[in-house]
Amino acid sequence: MKLEVENITAGYGNITVLRDVSFKVNDGGVVGVLGRNGMGKSTLIKCLAGLILPTEGTIKLNGEDISKLLPHARANRGVTTVVQGRGIFPDLTVMENLEMGRIAGGRGKRNRLEEVLGYFPHLRERLTQLAGTLSGGEQQMLAIGRGLMTDPKLILLDEPSDGIMPTLVEQIAATLGEINRREGTTIVIVEQNLPMIFSLAEYCIVFEKGKLVAEGTCEKIQKSEILQEYLAI
């Protein structure tokens, strides 16, 4: 799914966070969003997901303007979002969480349970367990797996490594890469963990004070002084 963001401005009430942001993600591409805390990365994800609507500019999915659509309408067009903090349903079982991904949109989506459990085999033995009792890493796997149950064409991820053991971060990054390669799913990932983002994304955009200040291939970003300038690394 091709994503085109054109000159969007967005924020909360009277506070503008994103200013005149434009970028494109090709069908099947993986874009990493970099920047220090408070620079507008999560706001960008919320804006793409429909949780906040842009006051200016457009967001297009495969050419269709979705700027004014609410989250559920975007989800039903193939966008799934894994929010920071995972957003699982703690008092539902793992199975119910996954099932919610399939049924929430109300249409007869194909059942991807076996595929999802193939990506995250660890969840298979936890299916009857309440999601709130899972470890942080397991919850993140569940959040991504639940998103996959919606049969997405575009996955938006906000800090998937947040609060997770390094070994699990590598595992999750590898799984996301596999999903991208195998299914051609477009991915936009906000992440502070640079090794994770560089292992997964081919293109990066860098945010500073709500503006897109640099972009390029991950290789180019790594070699340039952008990391030092905008990420203080």
Binding site: A49, L51, L70, P71, H72, A75, N76, T80, T81, V83, G87, I88, F89, P90, D91, L92, E96, N97, E99, M100, G101, I103, A104, G105, G106, R146, G147, T150
Partner: protein, 284 residues
């Protein structure tokens, strides 16, 4: 001993009738977070719809079904025209539903007058268990109340619709990001809660005289039921809350006057809420 058993049976019946009356409120308050002060008016409307249709010759059961549908439609209109614009503003919805209650009570007075009306009891008589006699209709209503709560629990815990509603209560944002149409689901829940209030009003109507204030009898008690049981604790909470508010009153009335028993129960409710502010079954 005989008296004690008789009082316990009576307390059980009253618990289940009150649970039926409070269940619509428990659904709307517990699931969509609207403190529905219009609940009393919905019960009253259900009773009047039942009276009007049975008077016109419609069989009682069909009349009650029509009452439930009628009040569900009224609830749907209320939600669509007014309430949906004020979710997340509990004080606003409280005032708006209170306004609905006042307006609806006046409309009922204009349309039906203030005279007492009677819906004839479809199951007169009593079931004799030796020394204990159970009024047949009250017994049937108690069983229906249990079945209704059980059936709703089944939907809530064993169906896709139940998964969606439980997910929505736990994390509205995540549910919408997965594709759930939040406003449509709220509308549906509000409509069902209203319909159940109408159903309860219709079913209760043969037990009381129907007048424009019949719902008021249950409004305050229903609130205590929901709050004491625990907001969002639809099944166990409603039953336990109903027992504390309705059943316990019957038991206390064995030892004192009715008014005194009522006072004790409400005092008890306040004490419970002091130590369990989220209700008996809900963690703070």
């Amino acid at each position: 001993m005989e008296t004690i058993i008789s009082v316990l049976v009576d307390a059980t019946l009253i618990t289940l009738v009150l649970a039926l009356a409070a269940f619509g409120l428990a659904i709307i308050y517990g699931l969509v977070g609207v403190i529905n002060m219009g609940h009393g008016a919905m019960l009253t409307l259900g009773a009047y719809f039942t009276w009007a249709t049975t008077t016109a010759g419609v069989p009682f059961i069909l009349a009650v079904v029509l009452a439930a549908l009628g009040v569900a439609i009224v609830g749907l209109l209320l939600e669509h025209i007014i309430i949906r614009h004020f979710y997340d503003k509990p004080f606003d919805t409280l005032l708006l539903t209170w306004a609905f209650f006042l307006i609806m009570t006046e409309v009922i007075k204009i349309v039906f007058g203030t005279d007492f009306r009677n819906v004839s009891n479809p199951l007169p008589g009593a079931i004799d268990f030796g020394t204990i006699k159970i009024p047949a209709y009250k017994g049937a209503i108690a069983i229906f109340s249990l079945l209704l709560i059980g059936a709703t629990a089944f939907v809530f815990y064993k169906t896709n619709l139940g998964i969606k509603i439980r997910a929505l209560i736990q994390n509205r944002e995540a549910a919408s990001l997965l594709g759930l149409n939040i406003s449509r689901t709220y509308k549906f829940v509000f409509c069902i809660g209203s319909g159940i209030a109408g159903l309860a009003g219709g079913l209760i109507s043969p037990m009381l005289s129907v007048d424009p204030y019949i719902g008021n009898v249950f409004l305050i008690r229903s609130f205590f039921v929901v709050i004491v049981g625990g907001v969002g604790q639809l099944f166990g909470g409603t039953l336990i809350g109903s027992f504390f508010i309705g059943g316990a009153e019957t038991i206390f009335a064995l030892f004192s006057k009715q008014v005194f028993a009522q006072s004790i129960v409400f005092l008890l409710a306040i004490v419970i809420l002091r130590y369990r502010p989220a209700g008996i079954l809900k963690k703070s």
